[in-house]
């Protein structure tokens, strides 16, 4: 790979100047386009006319990927095995295979964080018999927003730990899908199953 150094220059399109300009490679803190964070001290081509970042050399990609992976760290917790059975049964009820389980939990965390599903009874679910048991299985969720959304739900439901949050969400899924078979949630999830099948 051709390695660029700080101070090297190239002619590239600058979308701010709306013309081709000379750009000098410099270390900058550059944000992600979705506003989810920024990459610090990364080598980029800066337009000599407007000082905007016009180009990113591919040698900066490993640093960008590392930062993106850090932002997307998994949401994890250990739970009793019967809670994983509940998730598998709920997926089956929705006409999906067990690989739908992460999407099912993320759907709930998202809806709870947006108050589309009420989080008011989450902490009371943790006092039920089904919340008890030795934590022998791991739940791990990856996604761009799941960690942030989980924090919102923890705050609104007054739940301290991620593990307790995951347990309460599974019990909420049990309540909605398997026990009360709530049509609104089932319909929305069936559409998600169809879209991701």
């Amino acid at each position: 790979m051709k390695i660029l150094k700080e101070g090297d220059t190239k002619k590239v399109a600058c979308n701010t100047c709306e013309s081709f300009q000379s750009a000098t490679f410099k270390l900058r803190n550059v944000p992600f386009s979705d506003g989810s964070g920024l990459v610090k001290n990364v080598l980029v081509g800066v337009c000599d006319t407007c000082d905007c970042v016009a180009v990113v050399p591919h040698q900066s990609t490993p640093l960008i990927k590392k930062q993106l992976d850090k932002l997307r760290k998994p949401l994890e917790g250990r739970v009793p095995s019967h809670l994983v059975d509940i998730l598998n049964l709920a997926s089956d009820q929705l006409g999906a295979a067990t690989d739908f389980v992460p999407s099912l939990i993320k759907f709930y965390i998202h809806a709870l964080s947006k108050n589309e599903i009420s989080s008011s009874n989450l902490s009371s679910l943790l006092k039920t018999d089904l919340a008890q048991g030795k934590a022998t299985k791991r739940i791990s969720l990856k996604g761009r927003y799941v960690v942030e959304e989980a924090e919102l739900v923890k705050a609104s439901a007054h739940i301290e730990s991620t593990t307790e949050l995951l347990k309460s969400v599974v019990l909420k899924i049990n309540d909605d899908i398997l026990v009360h078979k709530r049509a609104k949630q089932i319909k929305a999830l069936e559409s998600l199953v169809a879209a991701t099948a």
């Binding site: 051709k2 590239v12 081509g45 970042v53 990113v56």
Partner: protein
């Protein structure tokens, strides 16, 4: 329109030699899957190697009509890919690499 086989040869050469830049609009485009490392240079090379002439388009760059923008829309491993770039020798500047 530039000859597809010449363009294909040139882009693969840029990828193999690592003369690769990504266009930026003062930020890091998370939709550019090559820029953020979701897909590797080797995988993009493979996708472009398998692409055909009827999947290729080109048009003049809106900021400089003497520079061509190249687009390949192709299927690879059941995924639709959209890859767009221009050349400023010796580099290929990728505008989009997304599904």
């Amino acid at each position: 329109m530039p000859k597809f086989s010449d363009i294909k040869h040139q882009i693969i050469q840029c990828l193999v030699e690592g003369n690769v830049l990504h266009e930026a609009r003062n930020d890091i485009d998370i939709k550019n899957l090559l820029e953020v490392g979701v897909i590797s240079i080797e995988e993009v090379t493979e996708i472009l190697k398998r692409s055909r002439g009827n999947e290729y388009e080109s048009s003049p760059h809106h900021l400089d009509k003497s520079i061509h923008v190249h687009v390949i829309k192709t299927r690879h491993k059941s995924e639709q890919w959209y890859i767009k770039w221009y050349f400023i020798e010796p580099d290929a500047v990728f505008i989009s690499v997304h599904q």
